[in-house]
């Protein structure tokens, strides 16, 4: 089972280490992790996607709550949330593959954000599944570099009314 945790923490040095260390020590999975400040500069939001059985997912929330720098935890299932991740992919192209790549980008709503004589960089900002699909589709051409951020998520608007 997958679960998303949106963890509001005090924006202080060492807090990310405490939170990620907790996952490591208790053998909780981190499928993805993203950090950034919120509208309040004293508060950061750590978004973690984790997976495990029901008991584990419950323990994650309880153990996080015990951490003194943790202010609040919101947890939700994938389908209750809108989640996005950003990915940059650098590919090598030839005259023969160029059109294909552009077509894939168009279909998947990805953007070409940089290019040189034989390489281009593609940006996608979508669900993790979409990013994965883009990688699959580009498998035929030479991918040279990939950078991908962790998933960001917020519960759907209807749920927090």
């Amino acid at each position: 089972m997958k679960r998303l945790y949106s963890i509001l923490v005090e924006n202080r040095s060492g807090v990310l280490a405490k939170v990620s260390g907790l996952f490591a020590r208790r053998c909780f999975n981190i499928d993805s992790l993203a950090v950034g400040t919120t509208d309040d500069p004293d508060i950061s939001c750590i978004t973690v996607v984790s997976s495990g059985d029901k008991g584990t997912l419950e323990q994650i929330e309880k153990q996080l709550n015990k951490k003194i720098n943790v202010i609040k935890i919101k947890t939700f299932a994938e389908e209750e949330s809108i989640s996005r991740e950003l990915m940059l992919v650098k590919v090598r192209y030839t005259a023969k593959t160029r059109r294909d790549i552009m077509e894939i980008c168009e279909i998947l709503d990805a953007k070409i954000v940089d290019m040189s004589k034989n390489q281009m960089m593609i940006q996608i900002c979508d669900t993790p599944e979409k990013s994965q699909l883009l990688l699959q589709m580009l498998n035929g051409v030479a991918i040279t570099e990939v950078a991908r951020c962790g998933t960001l998520a917020l519960p759907k608007c209807g749920l927090s009314d």
């Binding site: 005090e10 060492g14 280490a17 405490k18 260390g21 020590r25 008991g55 419950e58 323990q59 309880k62 153990q63 709550n65 015990k66 003194i68 720098n69 943790v70 202010i71």
Partner: protein, 538 residues
């Protein structure tokens, strides 16, 4: 006033009268400041034992124990003691010196990232970077250590911060931690369910853990149990929560527990677990608890509830508070049939097989010793076969039984006994250890001798790391490896070296007299009991 003075001042404000420590340059400003106060600083012989001594102190005084060490190796030496306290939820304030804050992270001489290294064994930690933060940090540290689920808090203070002038020292009246608000009162709706379940149950059982003692709720536990005549069993950490002579107390559960206690766990239809983790050592298999048992789990730490066994009714809060709230309700119930059954189980228990002649029977010894101790005496058990024997045969009156339960740290008993004695000098204190565990902290005999700390040390000498030998005996078909301690040291000479009386007991004949002689000696003393090397727990 400099930072070091401020730290000392905060300790005074918190009512600290004793601390345990070991110096080094990085903590020298602090140890210089302490000279100007009435706080008694006890120089131990190794930092690990400073933490253990602070733990013994905390458990007897009910307040956080304080230990202080220098940077680098001093700080890393503390870690086992910190981890031991963490595992048993003992409140500690651990203060370490640190290298100059401008040099942090550059691997200079005696720099160790102690807040990083100890992260998973502390309830919280601070690296002080600004001298003006000291009062707030100290106030918060004591608050965090002593409330909710108690535990060690580490404060790492670079030497330049200790030496820096602090303007306008003011110790805060209260803490302002928006992210830390432990639950004290149990939820009223949940509490009501307890009465309801009690009214319905036929075979209720209370399983008391260390949390009962940490919350100081021994009396409340007894009152609750007596009111409805509910039988009580305990975990290892819950030993001494209830008196052994109480007819409603059926002993310790677990692998090495009493069979009547384990049978009670298996057969009860309403299990009220209070301040216990129900960890692997206490309940070897989760199905020790019957499938259709209604489980009520009361704990101050919500994360413990449902961690090891699924609870039917969780109640989070301070145990003493919860007992007081439960006492307001009254339900009609009668459990006589159930307690009669348990009494039958108890009476049917077979006595331990007779040990070989010419040795001390550890079971008989523990029973005799604990019977002859003062009512309020503190009995500190070490780790190994000796711990099992102590747990199984200790007779609880109104005193305390201390041991390292969660971590099982060898060498705990002597330093913890020193700390316990320092917390209340009127108490009779004994440390019971194996020959292996004795040698892990016998350096503290010097601390005892120098401070005239009256602790009676009893060594069960079987010439082996007995518990591991027993394990190898059963698991590797008697192929022993790394467990033979041989015959050194000569304990009579060790005692002599520290100017302590030495007593030796080699069989059961003169046991009572020997124990009385030991307890009557003035000041500390060592008693060696010769145990059959092949004696076993099971």
């Amino acid at each position: 006033m400099i930072g070091a003075d401020a730290v000392v001042k905060c300790l005074e404000k918190e009512g600290v009268t004793t601390l345990f420590g070991y110096p080094g340059v990085a903590i020298c400003p602090f140890f210089n400041s302490i000279l100007n106060t009435k706080i008694e600083s006890i120089l131990v012989r190794s930092e690990q034992n400073a933490a253990h001594a602070a733990s013994g102190y905390a458990r007897v005084s009910g307040k956080a124990g304080v230990c202080v060490a220098t940077s680098g190796p001093g700080a890393t030496n503390l870690i086992t003691g910190i981890a031991t306290a963490y595992a048993d939820s003992i409140p500690l304030i651990c203060i370490t010196g640190q290298v100059d804050s401008n040099l942090l992270g550059s691997d200079v001489f005696q720099e160790a990232d102690i807040t990083g290294a100890a992260e998973s064994f502390v309830k919280y930690s601070y690296l002080v970077k600004d001298v003006s933060d000291i009062p707030r940090i100290m106030k918060e540290a004591f608050h965090i250590a002593q409330t909710g689920r108690k535990g060690p808090v580490l404060i790492d203070i670079p030497i330049d911060i200790q030496n820096k002038t602090i303007q306008n020292f003011r110790y805060p009246e209260s803490v302002n931690l928006r992210t830390y608000k432990p639950t004290v009162k149990g939820h009223a709706v949940q509490l009501k369910k307890v009465s309801k379940e009690l009214g319905r149950a036929k075979k209720p059982l209370i399983c008391a853990g260390g949390g009962v003692i940490l919350s100081g709720a021994q009396k409340e536990l007894c009152d609750f149990s007596h009111k409805y005549k509910i039988p009580v069993v305990s975990t290892m950490m819950g030993i001494s929560a209830m008196s052994s002579s109480d007819p409603l107390y059926y002993g310790m559960i677990g692998n090495n527990g009493r069979s009547c206690a384990n049978k009670a766990m298996q057969e009860s239809d309403l299990l009220i677990v209070i301040g216990a983790r129900i960890a692997d050592r206490a309940v070897s298999s989760p199905d020790l608890v019957a499938k259709d048992t209604v489980l009520i789990h009361i704990d101050v730490d919500p994360a413990e509830i449902g961690k090891n066994v699924g609870p039917t009714i969780p109640i989070v809060g301070d145990i003493k508070h919860i007992f007081n709230d439960l006492a307001k309700d009254t339900v009609q119930c009668n459990f006589k049939i159930w307690t009669d059954t348990l009494d039958r189980y108890r009476n049917a228990e077979k006595p331990r097989k007779k040990p070989h002649k010419g040795y001390v029977d550890p079971a008989l010894f523990v029973t005799t010793l604990s019977n002859r101790l003062n009512d309020r005496a503190v009995y500190v058990a070490d780790v190994g076969q000796n711990q099992m024997w102590s747990c199984m045969y200790y007779v609880a009156k109104s005193g305390r039984f201390l041991t390292s339960g969660g971590m099982g740290t060898m060498g705990y008993s002597i330093p913890a006994a020193i700390g316990a004695k320092m917390a209340d000098k009127r108490l009779q204190v004994v440390a019971v250890c194996g020959d292996g565990s004795f040698q892990m902290s016998m350096n503290e005999l010097a601390t005892m001798a120098e401070n005239k700390t009256d602790v009676k040390v009893i060594v069960f000498n079987n010439g082996y790391l007995g518990l591991v030998r027993e394990y190898q005996h059963n698991t590797y078909n008697k192929k022993y490896s790394m467990v033979d301690l041989g015959s050194y040291p000569d304990l009579s000479k060790i005692a002599e070296a520290y100017s302590m009386p030495y007593l030796r007991l080699s069989d059961n004949k003169d046991m009572e007299k020997a124990i009385d002689d030991l307890l009557a000696t003035k000041g500390s003393a060592i008693m060696e009991c010769i145990i059959d090397p092949m004696d076993t727990v099971k």
